[in-house]
């Protein structure tokens, strides 16, 4: 009985060791990838990997509350905010490789190595001992312990935090607010503009009924010629490769060539332009 529990404890320690090394290697690799990746979206995904592995490390360190807060607040809220702003601001933007300050990358690498050496020396000299075997940080009393600390010792910082959060919310609203520089067009003005544009009716819908009812299929005008206006330009931009465009029959000759030309233009665009 005792022997088996000792064995189980040993196996648990082995598993924790393995988990630490796997998570450490994964997070460091993801961090390196984040620094090196050209696309901002890739950086965000790699940051998610780092944050999730850090959450697992918190759990291994006996901090289950922080592990879940890490997943909920960081991976769930902060990172999603990053992705939203990325979608608004800079999905297509890649980092330029032009150095504004000459030798900046090299200098930054040297600074990083210096900082690493400095911190490694400090940590190495600190002689950090083994983990305390006390019960305060163990998982059973973790959440009540944190709650007690927050509402007793750290109650004033906790209250200040609320002021900080309200200020941050107000600041975000003020900063993200856009003043309207011209008055909003009324319905009358919109109707006038529509008539003046020469096309008061909506654009024709795509597809030929009973034959090819597809969105990428131009509609046929009464005289039999296909109407380019019926196909959304977005579809032409997102056109699939030549092997996958089976939906378009070869029957309408003139616009098909036109569309093919447009498609080949689009496929020649750099990958970033499609975002």
């Amino acid at each position: 009985m005792k022997h088996s529990t000792v064995l189980a404890l040993g196996q648990a320690a082995e598993t924790e060791n393995l988990a630490f090394w796997v998570l450490a290697v994964m997070s460091v690799a993801a961090a390196l990838g984040m620094v090196l990746a050209r696309r901002a979206v890739h950086c965000a995904v790699l940051l998610a990997v780092i944050m999730l592995s850090l959450a697992a490390l918190y759990a291994e360190l006996g901090a289950p509350f922080l592990a879940f807060v890490q997943i909920i607040v960081y991976t769930g809220a902060v990172l999603m905010l990053f992705l939203f702003v990325l979608m608004i601001v800079g999905v297509s933007s890649r980092d330029s490789l032009v150095e504004t300050i000459r030798g900046q990358r090299l200098a930054a690498g040297l600074v990083g190595i210096g900082l690493l050496v400095l911190l490694a020396l400090v940590i190495g000299h600190a002689a950090i001992g083994p983990a305390a075997s006390s019960t305060a940080a163990n998982s059973a009393a973790n959440l009540p312990g944190i709650a007690t600390l927050i509402f007793t010792t750290y109650v004033f910082p906790f209250e200040v935090t609320s002021a900080l959060l309200i200020t941050a919310a107000l600041g975000a609203m003020v900063l993200a607010h856009r003043e309207r520089t011209r008055p909003k067009p009324t319905q009358r003005e919109l109707a006038r503009l529509r008539v003046a544009s020469g096309r008061p009716a909506p654009l024709p819908g795509p597809g030929v009924y009973a034959l090819h009812d597809a969105v990428d299929m131009p509609a046929l005008l009464p005289d039999g010629t296909p109407s380019d206006l019926s196909v959304s330009p977005v579809i032409l931009q997102r056109e699939l490769g030549p092997g996958e465009s089976h939906a378009r029959p070869p029957t309408p000759p003139a616009p098909a060539g036109e569309l093919e030309a447009g498609r080949s233009d689009n496929t020649e665009q750099p990958e970033g332009a499609r975002w």
Partner: protein
């Protein structure tokens, strides 16, 4: 059992990588992500020290760091969108109106 020293060493490595990212990247959002990585590394060190001493203060501090980081991200990203609206760019090199 892996001692807290290993966790602190991992925190140091992640912190340095984040710092190098802040210094080298040009996209403001990516710089922000690297700052988040540095904050996370410090959090890991806090939790490791909390484990080392066997009390919960480090975890509470890490919790506060998370709250402050969330507030900072909200304001920072709002500033980034405001700059993007004005300058049509997310690169830190283009926000140079105060130069000279």
């Amino acid at each position: 059992m892996v001692g807290p020293a290993y966790f602190v060493a991992l925190a140091v490595i992640l912190f340095v990588i984040g710092g190098v990212g802040v210094l080298t990247r040009r996209n403001a959002i990516v710089i922000f992500m690297c700052v988040e990585l540095m904050l996370n590394a410090v959090n890991l060190a806090f939790v490791a020290f909390s484990r080392l001493h066997g009390n919960l203060d480090g975890q509470v501090i890490a919790f506060f760091v998370m709250v402050v980081a969330a507030a900072e991200v909200v304001v920072g990203l709002a500033i980034l969108t405001a700059i993007f609206r004005a300058r049509r760019s997310a690169s830190v090199d283009d926000a140079n109106l105060l130069k000279y």
